[in-house]
């Protein structure tokens, strides 16, 4: 056992990891980039825009399946050079907090807002025919939705609302500001005028009402609502096993810097997966089964009381680093503690 003293300031110390996600422009494929030089050691409670704080996460594990292969030559077949094989990088963790975005990322496909149903609607597992939307009026912002006198009466403080445009038979990505789903054919979504609000990330909880508007507890992720947008009450969230859409987000993970040095992991493009890596430790595999992907994890509070965590796994997708044209999938950055030695 080594008895050499560690140089304390060079040892990153943490007890938890915090996750931040930011949308990717799905049409152009442009990710949100974390620039350590620009953002520095930001306050963990106030991430730089447009990063969204998804809270502390648990069981954070980064898997590298990218093999290095030697090029051998000579009579003895000694390695003369190396090259990197196919990029294969994944990560897994548990969201300890549940929310719209956490569920969407853990589920991986379209994530549905269950709109308040018309009382005569046929039952549907992701919500039936909803109550008509209230029209958003000019003057609305990301934090205050103007509906007008009378129209606000359909909502109460505490309600969750979806605020987005009517679906107008377009194809492609839908959702204001953030791509929430992809429509190939309007017939696939029954030409439903409410479809975008069924999937949108533009949600808010009504903190209070004025005579004409709804004041939201958190601003809409997509910013001020578009003209011709509508508002509908959301009762619950639903994700589904199946679906063809893949969420794709930029991600940043920060190891809380308790001893001064901060470590960040930045993935420009992450896509949810349920394929287990060969290197997953056996003790994380269900007893008596082949390797299976578990959707939820239970975290004991006091038997039999358990907290339920959302298990999420992602495949890292490639990004071209403009500084040198290299294809990379993730960045690990380190902010040394003040006065720490550098080597």
């Amino acid at each position: 056992m080594s008895t050499s003293p560690l140089r304390a300031a060079m040892v990153p110390v943490t007890r938890r990891i915090r996750g931040y996600f930011a949308p990717i422009d799905r049409v152009s494929g442009t990710p949100t980039l974390f620039d350590p030089g620009k953002y520095g050691i930001f306050s963990l409670d106030e991430p730089p825009a447009p990063w969204i704080d998804l809270g502390w996460i648990d069981n954070f594990q980064r898997f590298c399946g990218t093999a290095t292969e030697p090029v051998r030559a000579g009579v003895r077949g000694a390695p003369q050079a190396q090259f990197r094989g196919a990029l294969d990088v994944r990560l897994e963790f548990d969201f300890r907090e549940w929310g719209k975005l956490q569920m969407a990322l853990a589920g991986g496909s379209e994530h549905m807002n269950v709109l308040a149903s018309d009382i005569n609607a046929n039952p549907q597992p992701s919500g039936g025919t909803p109550i008509f939307a209230a029209a958003v009026l000019p003057g609305s912002t990301a934090s205050e939705i103007v509906l007008g006198v009378g129209a606000v009466d359909g909502f109460s403080a505490g309600d969750i609302v979806a605020v987005d445009a009517d679906y107008q038979q377009q194809t492609g990505y839908v959702g204001s500001g953030i791509a929430a789903a992809y429509v190939s054919d309007p017939a696939d979504v029954n030409r439903d005028v409410n479809y975008i609000r069924r999937v949108t990330f533009n949600l808010g909880r009504v903190a209070q009402k004025t005579v004409t508007s709804l004041v939201l507890a958190q601003p809409l992720l997509g910013g001020a609502p578009l003209s011709q947008a509508g508002v509908q009450k959301v009762i619950a969230f639903v994700d589904r096993e199946g679906g063809t859409f893949f969420q794709e987000w930029s991600a940043l993970f920060v190891a809380e810097d308790e001893a001064g040095g901060r470590v960040c992991f930045h993935y420009p493009r992450l896509s949810p997966t349920t394929t287990l890596q060969a290197s997953v430790p056996l003790n994380q595999v269900s007893a008596g089964s082949s390797k299976v992907f578990q959707r939820e994890e239970e975290v004991e509070i006091a038997k039999p009381i358990m907290a339920v965590a959302l298990h999420a796994a992602f495949q890292a997708m490639p990004h071209i680093d403009e500084n040198d044209g290299q294809t990379v999938v993730c960045y690990r950055s380190y902010f040394p503690a003040a006065a720490a030695a550098l080597y």
């Binding site: 809270g55 502390w56 300890r96 909880r205 903190a207 958190q218 975290v299 509070i301």
Partner: protein
């Protein structure tokens, strides 16, 4: 933390009133439901009243591996009660204690309640719930029996008493950020 304490007490009080409105005590000249938070009462040397539930709060700690934006706190709670029975001979004291046991188990279910701010009227919902473990009923112990002549638990004594232990869990306060 006080919101959690108040919410637990008020919930058990309301449930007791609904379950057995006759379970009352007279304290400081006021007749009230027989559930009392010791730390909320006047500081006077007083013998606890019989046939009443006394709530006392204990240690508080953060629950391991539950550190979100707001940690989950666990607070120990002891609910104690005793009886002399309903007749002078005390022959029904075991049955009376059993009634108190069952009432306590009943009013603890369901094992959760909304966390409210009872410092204002009407109370305000703080947006989260508190929840607790099922109460663990401790041994029955008796007292006031003749010394050296008692049974191991002293249950031949005229006074029978029991303490129940549970843990109350809560988020320190509402968080919509």
């Amino acid at each position: 933390m006080q919101f959690a304490k108040d919410s637990f007490y008020m919930t058990l009080l309301q449930r007791l009133v609904a379950l057995n409105p006759q379970r009352t005590v007279t304290l400081n000249g006021t007749t009230r439901p027989a559930i009392i938070v010791a730390e909320n009462e006047l500081v006077v040397p007083i013998v606890p009243l019989a046939d009443a539930f006394y709530i006392e709060w204990g240690a508080v700690e953060a629950v391991a591996r539950q550190t979100g934006r707001r940690m989950i706190l666990a607070m120990e709670c002891v609910i104690s009660y005793h009886t002399f029975g309903t007749v002078e001979s005390g022959v029904d004291r075991g049955r009376t204690l059993a009634s108190l046991d069952m009432e306590l188990l009943s009013i603890c279910q369901p094992f959760w309640t909304p966390k409210q701010d009872y410092s204002q009227a009407p109370s305000v919902d703080l947006g989260t719930r508190i929840w607790w473990t099922a109460p663990s009923l401790g041994k029955v112990s008796g007292s006031e029996a003749a010394r050296n002549e008692g049974l191991p638990r002293g249950s031949e004594g005229v006074r029978l008493e029991r303490s129940a232990n549970l843990k109350v869990f809560f988020f320190p306060e509402e968080d919509l950020q």
